[in-house]
Amino acid sequence: MTITRRHIGLGAAGLAGAAALPGTAEAQAPLNVGFILIGPVGDFGWSTMHDVGRRRMLEVLGNRVTATQVESVAPPDFDRVANQLARTGSRLIFTTSFSYFQPTVRVAPTLPNVMFENATGTSTLPNLSIYNARFYEGRYIQGVIAARKSRSKTIGYIASFPIPEVIHAINTVMRGAWSVDPQMRIRVVWVSAWFNPAREADAARALIDQGCDVVCQHTDSPAPLQLANERGVFGFGQASDMTRFAPRAHLTSSVNNWGDYYAERARAMLEGTWRPGDVWGGLNSGMFRLAPFTNMTPEETAEAERIRDAISSGRLHPFDGPIVRQDGTEVIPAGQRLTDDQIRAQNYFYRGIDVAMP
């Protein structure tokens, strides 16, 4: 018999149909988990770490799960890819970018038998969970280290898009830096891309040429850090441990770890206990960690470790009041703390940041 696309389609539909029947599928068909990535698996940053997480999930759950991954999916192609995954039997789909949040919200109700999980989204649905890590905790520590390292008192920040996640990251870098030295200033360049190595490097060049001597990045390639190394200034790695790209410039990286979460959620699907959730894991959750501190004096390292431990144990919180907006209006007074929803909705810079909000 010749196998045609039609047969494959029928087979996949059959599989999906069988899987949708509660109780009958668990024994035979493994759960297929779909992954949609915003960048290439080899970006050595954000998407790489989701791929590492996928492999960790397969390792933990063995032959009970299979995975289908589609990389470098532009947001306009999202619907097509998500539908394709659903058609070919994925019952749990991780959509791993904030840029996919709105598309996921749109697609999820049309595929009620498929459970979605969006990384860094802001609201849930009956079949949509959101998950994220409190990367801002690491940003606060970056700010502290930057203030110790900078001689020009100016941090350069390579940002992707003006979304709350990026905005509150800039705010926390400044809070960390001001906790050491209120003279610290920041320059921000938006490159309008998550991944465009040469443009990220050009942005780093522009910032360094204008006097920044510590570079923070909220984009996914190691290019800015590598350029910092070439120019003899300091920088931080993004998403994975980027020490080797900048042996003289690297201070620390925030290293993402999604694998345990992916395994836990896939197991919940297998056991029928999956419920829409909202997970936002901090340093103490293991969802991310800081790579070993490099190019720092023992005193600087000790200070950074002390602050890391204080944040991890909850003694120090980057969003304690008073918090005042750039335009002078007060968000919360001293003694209060921003709620998670307030952090997630942050669309203003703190007072003292003299960069215009786009």
């Binding site: 960048g39 290439p40 698996v41 080899g42 970006d43 050595f44 790489t48 470098s72 350069g156 003006p162 320059r187 921000v188 360049v189 938006w190 490159v191 309008s192 891309a193 991944f195 465009n196 190595p197 040469a198 443009r199 990220e200 490097a201 050009d202 942005a203 060049r205 522009a206 910032l207 040429d209 204008q210 920044c212 390639s221 190691p222 290019a223 590598q226 350029l227 070439e230 080797r244 790209f245 003299d354 960069v355 215009a356 786009p358």
Partner: protein, 305 residues
């Protein structure tokens, strides 16, 4: 070094890959073949360049491999559009996608392997000229190569008999054929040249600008190079203007942001495209007469035997 010098240096490095790829494509299009696969050839050059450079430890070997990789992909394209006379647009698009995919496979073992970039070469004496010396004569070899390429191509197309024959193939292949020129062979060589240039431009990205490999690292520069050829109305010197205009605006908007100029970054990001389109419109308005595209561009030619 002053800030202005620093900006100009960065503009040159940002513009060079665009210029190299554009000048190669320009020659192919003047011969009458539209190769939309520049992005694919470019990224194959980037992948092959860093792969060979890391494996052999020699940057020169990496550059040679990049040029050969670009040429190899162009040869595949030539087989399709010259040998089989397939649709050039479809084959070119397929080539771009094919190159992106294949480069990911080829580069996979080299993801995350760091490497020192190719350094700059200072031209003795000339680099000591105030301002101009620092900008023009303290550059990496690729920048010099890009200017040599432009001068060479301009001279070849405009001043040599072989260049005239190549242009004839692009304007009217049947006439060139009737005069006894081997149209397909000439077009094949032009395509190889275009592929080699695209590969070289890719090597510039992976060996100089951001010396590491990640898949998709060309980020659409091949498409921009295609647009620059149109912008240049198929003239080599105007390609320099196009590449530097685009590269210049890209870098200036980054500097403007860093300096705190209060313009929305989305508008800033669109600026290079807007200015390029604007310049194109102005050029078109200023010129009398119709389009300057080679008359036979994109038309397959099948010699009668």
């Amino acid at each position: 070094m002053t800030l202005l010098e620093a900006i100009l240096l960065t503009v040159m490095t940002a513009s060079t890959p665009l210029l190299i790829a554009a000048i190669g494509e320009l020659v192919a299009e003047r011969a009458g073949v539209l190769n939309l696969g520049v992005e694919g050839m470019m990224i194959m050059g980037a992948a092959a360049g860093i792969a060979v450079a890391i494996t052999t430890g020699s940057s020169a070997a990496g550059v040679a491999a990049a040029i050969l990789a670009g040429m190899a992909l162009a040869a595949v394209f030539a087989l399709l559009v010259l040998g089989l006379a397939t649709n050039q647009v479809a084959a070119g698009l397929a080539l771009a996608i094919f190159g992106l995919g294949l480069s990911g496979v080829l580069g996979a073992p080299f993801v995350g392997v760091p490497r020192a970039g190719i350094g700059k070469i200072e031209v003795p004496f000339l680099s000591d000229i105030p301002f101009l010396g620092a900008v023009l004569f303290r550059q990496d070899p690729f920048v010099y190569a890009s200017f040599a390429l432009v001068i060479g191509v301009a001279w070849f197309l405009g001043r040599t008999r072989a260049g005239l024959v190549l242009r004839a193939c692009g304007e009217n292949a049947a006439a060139a054929h009737a005069l006894g020129y081997k149209v397909l062979r000439i077009r094949f060589l032009a395509l190889l040249f275009g592929g080699g240039c695209a590969g070289l431009a890719g090597a510039y990205l992976s060996l100089v600008l951001t010396p590491f490999w990640t898949s998709g690292m060309t980020s659409g520069r091949g498409w921009i190079a295609l647009a620059i050829v149109v912008f240049a109305s198929w003239m080599p010197w105007r390609a320099v203007a196009g590449a530097y205009l685009f590269g210049g605006v890209t870098i200036l908007q980054l500097h403007a942001q860093s300096a705190g100029v209060p313009v929305p970054p989305q508008a800033m990001a669109a600026l290079p495209y807007l200015i390029t389109i604007l310049a194109l419109v102005l050029i078109m308005r200023a010129r009398s007469g119709g389009s300057t595209a080679p008359a036979g561009l994109g038309r397959p030619f099948v010699p009668d035997r």
